[in-house]
């Protein structure tokens, strides 16, 4: 099947092509799930949030501006849906949680297609070796903090520090781009 760009698919969905929407779902579901799971923790909750986020996207599809990056819009919906779930459950998170979520949103939304993934890979060259390795293990290999710590042979808190600094740096690079 010929690869169709997101904007092309969105325009088709706006004209009633539900097949095109299914193609978008299949394309984004994995990354969206991983992103949401980082926020809500529980995989079943993450499934529910991802399903709701896609449905919310479908219901508002006519409002999507195809001249802007679609993945940002989708991940924003998912983030807000996930945070609503946490608020409903009165789930208290640490103070740096919001910054983490925002960084994850920026990075995950770009991991979906090759062009945007290249932006991330280019930005990674600006990081230190340890930060780059932590990012690769965490976002590309989908390892947990503990698993990254084991792989790199460094304490858990050091992993958190590397990731926090790397995310801050990446956010800056990617917003500039």
């Amino acid at each position: 099947m010929k690869y169709r760009e997101d904007e092309q698919l969105i325009r088709l969905v706006q004209k009633g092509d539900v097949d095109a929407f299914e193609e978008l779902v299949v394309r984004y579901q994995q990354r969206l799930f991983f992103f949401v799971r980082r926020i809500v923790g529980d995989p079943r909750d993450a499934e529910e949030v991802v399903t709701d986020a896609f449905f919310q996207l479908y219901r508002t599809i006519t409002r999507v501006d195809t001249s802007r990056r679609f993945s940002t819009y989708l991940f924003s919906i998912a983030k807000n849906t996930a945070l609503s779930l946490l608020r409903r459950r009165k789930d208290a998170r640490p103070l740096d949680f919001a910054a983490d979520v925002e960084a994850d949103e920026v990075i995950y939304s770009r991991l979906v297609n090759d062009t945007q993934r290249r932006e991330i890979l280019e930005a990674l060259t600006q990081l230190t070796d340890a930060q780059r390795m932590a990012i690769m293990y965490y976002y590309f290999d989908e390892l947990s903090y503990e698993e990254v710590s084991d792989k790199m042979g460094i304490p858990l808190n050091t992993v958190r520090t590397h990731l926090r600094r790397a995310k801050e740096a990446l956010r800056g690079f990617l917003h500039e781009s």
């Binding site: 539900v18 929407f21 779902v25 799930f33 499934e47 399903t51 896609f54 479908y58």
Partner: protein
Amino acid sequence: MSPDVSNRVMKKVVDFERRHVVRFTVLFSIISFLLVVASILVFSEVVVELNNRGSWDLLTLFGEEPEIVQEFWKDTLFTFWEEIPQGLLFIGLGLLVFLAILRFLFRGAFRSNDKKMRYISHFLRKGR
């Protein structure tokens, strides 16, 4: 490994669109039906009025000899036209034109709904 949520998502989408398409189709059908019925009522009033005036007798001209028809057809048709209750006639035609305009304005929605219904029936046939 992430779970495949596409089936759950598409089921919600299908349920949503099925309700939406049915609602649209029912509403448009009701409006179309009312417009057609209204225009039929109006046209039947026109016919009754023509019956009362005996205007149909004018049209017997066209059963006459060709030379007579050729001589009198314009005057006859003009007289017939004058005897038609034109207000009612225009109302009846206006209702049908309005229906045609509605159909034209919503042609995008009809095309979109057709595509959606094709997907929905395909989705349901696959038993997902």
